[in-house]
Symmetry: D2
């Protein structure tokens, strides 16, 4: 019973190779996470444990997929940048999208108890994902800036909103109060409610960056008692500004053009 | 801090809508499952618990995604057929691929302990996935036949191989013995080793079909003691032949053209 | 001086194979033909010579590309249907689009003088083209019906418009008169202006169909003086209804499913 | 008779937008030009009139399509580079491919008699075309170098071949003589046949570049008899080296990154 008679069905498969020499950005987003966070009583406006679980998933991605160079996460989304020259699964988009989102999801479920030891999973978490290619470093940086600006806008709004609720407002009163307000107005509201926005934890204000960086480590001491160092790639999690130039100057190797 | 300055990065997103009025087939495949099954000591050539876990994932898919009409699984792969007219995520391929494989993976990890109560997960399971569109019912059926023929070919080979190992052969001796053999030869080998191939469990020989079907159920008894029936869609798991016409005649509504 | 150093640039080429087993429809449209027809003083609302030149191009297409089965033209556009199983240029969309539109254009320029012996080409005619795939015969027929309905709507409007102009109205008066009118109203207007719409030439009302059909031809007379017939494929140009079933029943082989 | 019932067929059209911020290269190739050149008795190995007709078509392209920045032609092919930021037809590939190849073909037929006043067109010339995107200036330059190296390799081979034929060899003797030869060997053969390769016209050895460049022109003389100059974009045809850096340094504005 040879199978050749039916093999023609393979001819319907479509090639979906991403353009060579471009930065592949993968974005993973929680599906129906509004419900999911309600069901698991995530803290509002930010649940630190939930964010740290997302970061742990991102870190696991860096251990698994060596061509990742940078990632940025906020709320229930995470963006991963593959190096420009990656030949990961021959740059086939479906392969990249499916394998990474599947791996990320697996880690999310497996590590759940590490972050929520007191809570069982009450529904099935899932994520969507997509790839986008960017032809230049400048545009990748603009992409990442776009996500971090979004983080700021949403976090400032949500912080205000939940502080207003805490102060006794109803949801619709809080929405009305915030309608049409600018950054400055929101800072003012927060100030009146006793919050200095810049004192909030950086993980809430800036989101999370997970990336690989060269670090010098002392591997042993020689006979003279002097440290012997070796430089190695280490996965780092940080909550810093990635809109300005400073971070990128200090970590020039991350988006280097090769 | 409006975000409009960076929003241009969205213009790099690519539309990946699948052709309307075609059958969307999604295939999910275990990634590195050779290693994964070794690490978790899956029985050779077939591990019934592992197969039933896959089936449980497929059944959960049918509960979650109402536009699925049929699925077929064998070994560490599962193919799902969406109805021709589905507008699931607007037929965007990345969305469909990522959400389904993520959901499938989540269920796989969450239900692991139901099927392997004595084993912990020792590595992170992940799957890849892709979509293929087929313009006609005939070609979808050929696709499914292709997978079931593959199941047969692989299972017959593997059954022989592991029976030869069991009988004391080394792996390379078993390979040599099977080189160039046809279906008939393999049945002969099995017979000599005391195995009647057709007596093997259908789940090994035929793979698994999960699909929705109309069933009549007794919902209550009326005052005269007579049963009141209602027809409802029920998710069914079976291990039947899907190459011939019989199954499709009996379940004509599954691939009906609308 | 080997060329291998630069050959990597080929890896940026993108596969654009159209789905197998679907009907490929190619639509060619005049580019800037409003200006082009003004410059060459095409008659309004229809220039029979211009239409016949388009038809001659379509006929030449059928001589050149054997996998064409049907085409429909109206005004400065022409739609061509390739048979479902065509392997023309391996179904690569750019190849199909470019070669056909280039050939069509070449014929348009070369045959110009046959249809406009009294006019020189005063500007450079060009066309755009695209491919669309349809998975079923029903949808191809709906596509063709869509174009013929469009022909009817436009032709009825334009006939009214130019008759009103002829009767002394200005362009804006004619537009105002027609605003919001239905088919019935336009027939009424035409009737008042002495035109019975159904008496207009079919080429204006129905557009043009060019297709291949089997015809019986007398190839010689045998010794008894009796005709010896042979059936052969002949390219036919007609102006018939392709919305209803009649034409398709009479020419069942054109869109047969194979 | 509204047309909405059939308009759903438009939903089968596929978006084919090319990636923003990349260089779009369009390549046009003669279809069946081997036959075409035989039929019209083009001179071997190069027909200067045929090449100049191709160049005239390229020049017309620059007059018609303002976003072209450079083009390179050899034999019956021509590559056109659109500027990186072009929004020509919204970067839709089919539109770009079809409109340009149609225009090119139109010019080819219309100008034929200017270059071959003594020859009628005996068959219908046609061209294929495709687009490829390149994310960086370096890769566009490598693309162009690839074409010019190809020009050199082919021209050197063909020049040898036809000189050997001229000297009395048969076609297969000439092929045998050239089998396995390197650049140096071919120069030697040419030398023995009395040809100094570098004395051949540059149009044969280097191909043709058509591009826009800023030139200073005297537009009038003022009352003092002194020339008044204005800088304007002029379409230039040249036959220069585009592999090395010199040309690109001298014309830095052509591929500037903006």
């Amino acid at each position: 019973m040879a199978n050749s008679k039916y093999e023609y069905v393979k001819s319907f498969e479509v090639e979906d190779k991403l353009m060579p020499s471009t930065w592949i950005v993968l974005r993973i987003d929680g599906r129906h996470f509004h419900q999911f966070s309600d069901k698991h009583e995530f803290k509002k406006p930010n649940d630190e444990r939930a964010l740290k679980l997302m970061n742990a998933c991102a870190e696991a991605m860096f251990e698994e997929f060596p061509d990742l160079v940078f990632s940025y996460g906020v709320s229930d989304e995470y963006s991963f940048v593959f190096k420009k020259t990656t030949e990961f699964y021959n740059r086939r988009s479906s392969k990249i999208v499916s394998i990474t989102v599947s791996f990320f999801t697996s880690v999310y479920v497996m590590k759940w108890k590490d972050f929520f030891p007191d809570k069982d999973l009450k529904s099935i978490p899932s994520f969507d994902a997509r790839t986008v290619c960017y032809p230049s470093t400048k545009i990748v940086r603009d992409y990442l800036a776009w996500r971090q600006v979004d983080c700021h806008i949403n976090n400032q709004y949500n912080t205000c909103f939940w502080k207003l609720i805490e102060s006794g407002k109803t949801k619709s009163e809080a929405q009305d109060r915030l309608k049409g307000t600018q950054t400055q107005d929101k800072n003012e509201i927060l100030f009146q409610l006793g919050v200095n926005y810049s004192d909030l934890p950086a993980i809430f204000r800036k989101g999370s960056c997970v990336f690989k960086d060269k670090v010098e480590e002392i591997v042993k001491y020689n006979e003279n008692g002097q440290p012997v160092k070796r430089s190695r790639n280490k996965v780092i999690t940080d909550h810093c500004d990635i809109i300005g130039d400073e971070f990128w100057k200090e970590h020039a190797s991350i988006l280097k053009d090769e």
